[in-house]
């Protein structure tokens, strides 16, 4: 059941994508499988990536996203399936005959070569003169913002600088495809945010098709043109960051990306019942009478005065405020409702709303769950 919905979503987003670009896809992955002995790490992975696109593979650790990246690079070839790049079947090609640049989590900078020699490594033996190489390295150093560090050794650089050297080395040979394997996860939070921006900028400037593996949803949402959510070796959903966030194709995606309130219920005739409240939903993929999980994001819960509930107001729930946490730009509010029993509801209310409605712990209020933001997923999968 869920599998069906998932595939539906997958085709839908793939359809969207083809409508976007009329050119044939740059990278075509068809029915890819990978097994390590009895363990199947990738299952029927099918994915098209357009030229110049920035795609993130996102998923929990061990989900197979790095395995997929390494299969694309030819470092750990898939067990079944084909990969085509630029129209050419590269399934059986060794890494050295494929066209990609790669940046690893460890950066893998050569410790005994200077920054300049590191970046020049891939430019040597390519028929370029020493002058051309020097010029190209200087250009690349400017591009990644490290013009003064050319003669230093990697150990003398900070983590973020090393990361940028690795990036410069990878793009030095103008690869058709840039692969980034958790490139930011070894860095501290501040540097990470800064570099996120820089990498995205660079990618846009160069127009190089890029795949980045990450387990950090914020990273994926902020950088990617499209996100591929992977779970247990399967693609859960492919879509733009907003699609993934606003229209998750499965409960896993809804839960893994962003935060969500989850309540068990039954779906009947365009609505779900929460306790004695009937909540309408615009979800249509579920059959009548199915056991479902209702998911609502904290920021989709709208605050109202207590008296707004009742009188047959649609999708309103009377609640009591249990606890409030101030998180700077908003209040994270824990709500309790008779309709939901023991399960608390988490909502994010803006400072304005809190002031306007005079919300404080212990107070009674009402919340609205807008029908188009009430997500419903069939249970039992």
């Amino acid at each position: 059941m869920v599998a069906m919905t998932r595939r539906g979503a997958l085709q839908a987003s793939a359809g969207n994508f083809v409508a976007d670009g009329s050119a044939p896809p740059y990278l075509e992955i068809a029915d890819l499988w990978k097994s390590f002995g009895d363990f199947v790490a990738l299952r029927e992975v099918t994915l098209d990536i357009a030229r110049g696109e920035f795609v993130c593979f996102l998923g929990p650790s061990g989900c197979g996203k790095t395995t997929l990246l390494r299969a694309i690079a030819g470092l750990d070839p898939q067990t079944r399936g084909t990969i085509r790049q630029g129209g050419e079947d590269i399934s059986g090609l060794p890494p050295s005959q494929r066209d990609f640049g790669i940046v690893f989590q460890s950066y893998a900078l050569f410790p005994n070569l200077t920054v300049r020699r590191n970046i020049a490594f891939g430019l040597e033996n390519t028929g370029r003169s020493k002058r051309e190489i020097d010029a190209r390295v200087t250009e690349l150093l400017d591009l990644v913002g490290l013009p003064e560090q050319a003669s230093k050794y990697p150990a003398q650089l900070s983590g973020g600088q090393q990361q940028r050297v690795a990036l410069a080395r990878a793009i030095a040979i103008d690869p058709g495809l840039l692969l980034l394997d958790e490139p930011l996860s070894a860095l501290d939070a501040k540097v990470r945010v800064h570099l996120r921006h820089q990498i995205k900028e660079l990618q846009r400037k160069l127009g190089v098709t890029t795949i980045m593996v990450t387990h950090d949803q914020e990273e994926a949402l902020s950088m990617a043109d499209r996100i591929v959510v992977i779970n247990r070796g399967r693609i859960e959903q492919v879509g733009t960051p907003t699609e993934i966030y606003r229209e998750p194709a499965s409960l896993f995606v809804a839960d893994f990306i962003g935060e969500t309130n989850k309540v068990a219920s039954t779906y009947r005739a365009g609505a779900v019942t929460l306790g004695d409240a009937v909540i309408a939903t615009s979800e249509t993929r579920v059959v009548d009478g199915a056991a479902v999980t209702v998911a609502v994001r904290p920021e989709d819960i709208l605050p109202h005065r207590a008296e707004d509930a009742g009188n047959g107001a649609a999708n309103m729930l009377p609640v009591t405020i249990e606890d409030m946490e101030f998180l700077g730009s908003y209040w994270r509010t824990h709500l309790r409702s008779d309709a939901l029993g023991a399960t608390p509801l988490v909502a994010n209310f803006s400072m304005n709303a809190v002031r306007r409605l005079d919300l404080k712990p212990g107070a009674a209020m009402a919340v609205e769950l807008p029908a188009e933001r009430v997500l419903v997923f069939a249970r039992g999968a």
Partner: protein, 670 residues
């Protein structure tokens, strides 16, 4: 649901095409694996099969006819077996032989005279019944007729049979069998003593605030620089028949187990010390703090924290020491007297009695404890690794006057012992004629006047050591790189790894003997290297392969595994990465491997004693042979030459390392 049941769709596994790098890497590994097969696996196999081979005369295979004096009337055909049964000409024991045995046909005819007109006929009853007419080999079931004068030149040849007969013979021979007991006895006692002494020494160095730690550490490593038989020579000067301190032994003889044990402690001490010291150096301060907070006594802490923490090191050191002692040949040769051990038996069987088959049998028997010790040690080493990877706070010893005095005394005694042994050798080398003329001279260094190879042997040793260090380092490091950094090709790598670990378990003498069987076979296309310097280099590299291989692997494992993927994504060949990055980064380890090979090539006796030839005599062999000939003082002098050379090489190595590191490893500095 779908996740758990989905299986791979049918179809062929995707395989990557091999690129040039992949082909070159496999070629390289193939070449080095071939080297290991030719230099290790095949010789050992040749030896093993040799130990099951016996030669003997099978009289039932020959039939004779004799004519009367006219040469026309022939007797009934009769087998040699029947003739021998009547005559008792050849006792059953004499029917056993070596591959070179000959049995004159005339022994079966007591009336034989070479002047008689009587004629003889001979044929084989089977297709394999060889005999010689003069130098012509015959092997036929057709009657061959000979006159008397020719018949006296007829010799029967032994035939080969395969079985456990040699082993049966070995175990029924009480002298040979007692060697097993002797070897085990010596090895166990030496191991216990060495491990206790080395533990005390290592404990003092790692766990006390004792002064002079550096000096003690240096002194403790000195025995590595000399051949194992050198302490034997020193002991002869001290406690031998004309020894300076003979009276201290109170009538005991140094020639025998006593001398072997003392000498063994000397030469195995540094090996045990290195292992135990490593184990003690990884102690966790927090465990000691915990013990102290629980008010455990120092004694209790020692037994519940220190010993368990170091137990893998202790076990490993014990097995390494045991193997070194039981496989050592030089020391029992010099100071063993009439006391037989396995290694001496091999030597006696091969060099003394030319009984190669029996030598092979003893070798196989010597291989058993060595292989067992090796297997146990590997298991223990694996566990030690997991212990090392734990994050811990390094132990900081606290000053304690009385404890330091004790440590100092312990180390002092060991240092005096080690320096004393070497000093005695030096003294022996410089004295004109012990004990009658104690004036100093350099005449003992005039090696050209003695048997044993003279100065040429010394230069040969230098040549061997340099070649071993040069060739060995390249082969070992390249091989380790291929094992560690090749992708796919799992079975090949596993096999290679096994071959690389194997030399550790094979005693030098066993390897040497195996080389005789393998390379001295004229049918072997590699026969031409027999008797040359090349075979000595191959034998030495192979014998010391494992330690170098492990050193290289450790260094390579510390290198980022993503270098190769990066290089191939940049479309650069692996050898460029290897030359520009891998080798420079691993240079310290590479230098360590080369000095290890150099020093061991200078001192080894066992790996080369069977395969040196007159023009490739070596310094270490010269020590052995001069000692054998009674020229003990020149033997000591040659031993000291090895010591100077190795000490010099060590110093040069240290200086060169520092210079190279300064020049090429600037990147290590922040």
């Amino acid at each position: 649901m779908a996740e758990t049941t989905a299986a791979l769709p049918p179809g062929r596994r995707v395989r990557l095409r091999l690129d040039r790098d992949g082909i070159i890497k496999r070629l390289f590994m193939g070449v080095i694996a071939l080297y290991l097969i030719a230099a290790l696996a095949l010789p050992l196999y040749a030896m093993l099969s040799k130990s099951f081979v016996t030669y003997g005369f099978d009289l039932a295979r020959y039939e004779f006819q004799v004519s009367d004096e006219t040469g026309t009337v022939w007797s009934e055909p009769v087998t040699a077996e029947a003739l021998n049964a009547d005559l008792g000409a050849v006792p059953a024991d004499d029917l056993r032989s070596s591959s070179d045995g000959r049995l004159s046909a005339t022994v079966f005819f007591p009336d034989f005279s070479f002047r008689s007109p009587v004629k003889y006929r001979l044929r084989g009853t089977t297709g394999d019944a060889p005999w010689l007419v003069g130098l012509d080999l015959k092997n036929t079931t057709d009657w061959q007729e000979y006159d008397s004068n020719t018949f006296r030149r007829i010799n029967l040849r032994p035939v080969k049979s395969v079985g456990v007969q040699n082993y049966a013979e070995y175990f029924s021979n009480p002298t040979l069998f007692s060697s097993i007991q002797n070897s085990l006895y010596i090895a166990v006692i030496s191991t216990v003593l060495t491990v206790v002494f080395a533990f005390g020494f290592a404990y003092a160095i790692n766990r006390s605030c004792m002064p002079f730690k550096g000096a003690f550490r240096m002194i403790a490593m000195m025995p590595i620089l000399v051949p194992s038989l050198l302490p034997g020579i020193a002991l002869i000067y001290l406690f031998g028949n004309q020894g300076m301190l003979k009276s201290l032994l109170m009538g005991q003889s140094i020639y025998g187990p006593l001398g072997i044990v003392i000498g063994s402690v000397f030469f195995t001490f540094p090996h045990a010390l290195i292992i135990i010291s490593t184990a003690l150096s990884i102690a966790d301060q927090r465990q000691y703090e915990a013990a102290e907070s629980l008010r455990a006594s120092k004694w209790r802490t020692f037994w519940t924290v220190t010993i368990p923490g170091a137990r893998y090191g202790l076990i490993s050191a014990a097995f390494v020491t045991f193997t070194l002692v039981i496989t050592d040949f030089g020391l029992p040769k010099v100071i063993g007297g009439q006391y037989n051990v396995l290694a001496i038996d091999i030597y006696k069987q091969v060099i003394g009695q030319q009984n190669f088959e029996m030598g092979a049998v003893v070798s196989v028997i010597l291989l058993i404890p060595a292989v067992l010790a090796f297997l146990v040690d590997r298991q223990v080493q694996k566990k030690q690794v997991s212990l090392l990877s734990a994050r811990s706070v390094p132990y900081q010893p606290r000053p304690d006057r009385r404890f330091e005095a004790l440590c100092l005394a312990w180390c002092g005694v060991m240092a005096v012992f080690i320096v004393g042994i070497i000093a005695i050798c030096q003294y022996a080398a410089l004295i004109r004629f012990w004990p009658y003329d104690l004036s100093l001279s350099l005449k003992n260094y005039a090696f050209d006047r003695m048997d044993g190879g003279g100065w040429a042997a010394y230069w040969n040793s230098i040549k061997l050591a340099l070649m071993t260090a040069g060739i060995g380092t390249v082969v070992i490091f390249t091989g380790a790189y291929m094992v560690e950094k090749i992708d796919g090709f799992k079975t090949g790598r596993g096999l290679f790894q096994f071959l690389a670990m194997l030399p550790m378990a094979v005693p030098g003498m066993v390897l040497g003997l195996a080389y005789i069987f393998f390379f001295n076979n004229p049918a072997n296309p590699l026969h031409f290297i027999y008797g040359t310097m090349i075979i000595l280099v191959i034998s030495t590299v192979t014998h010391f392969y494992t330690v170098g291989h492990l050193t290289a692997l450790t260094a390579l494992k510390q290198i980022d595994a993503e270098f190769e993927p990066v290089a191939s994504s940049l479309r650069q060949p692996f050898y460029k990465l290897f030359a520009r990055v891998t080798v420079p980064v691993c240079l310290p380890a590479i230098l360590d491997i080369s000095i290890y090979l150099f020093v061991n090539a200078m001192t080894t006796v066992s790996a080369v004693v069977f395969i040196y030839s007159t023009h490739t005599a070596l310094a270490s062999i010269a020590v052995l042979n001069m000692d054998d000939a009674g020229d003990i003082a020149p033997a000591a002098a040659m031993g000291m030459m090895i010591f100077y050379t190795n000490a010099g090489a060590r110093i040069l190595h240290a200086l060169a390392s520092r210079r190279i590191l300064n020049r090429t490893q600037a990147w290590r500095l922040r």
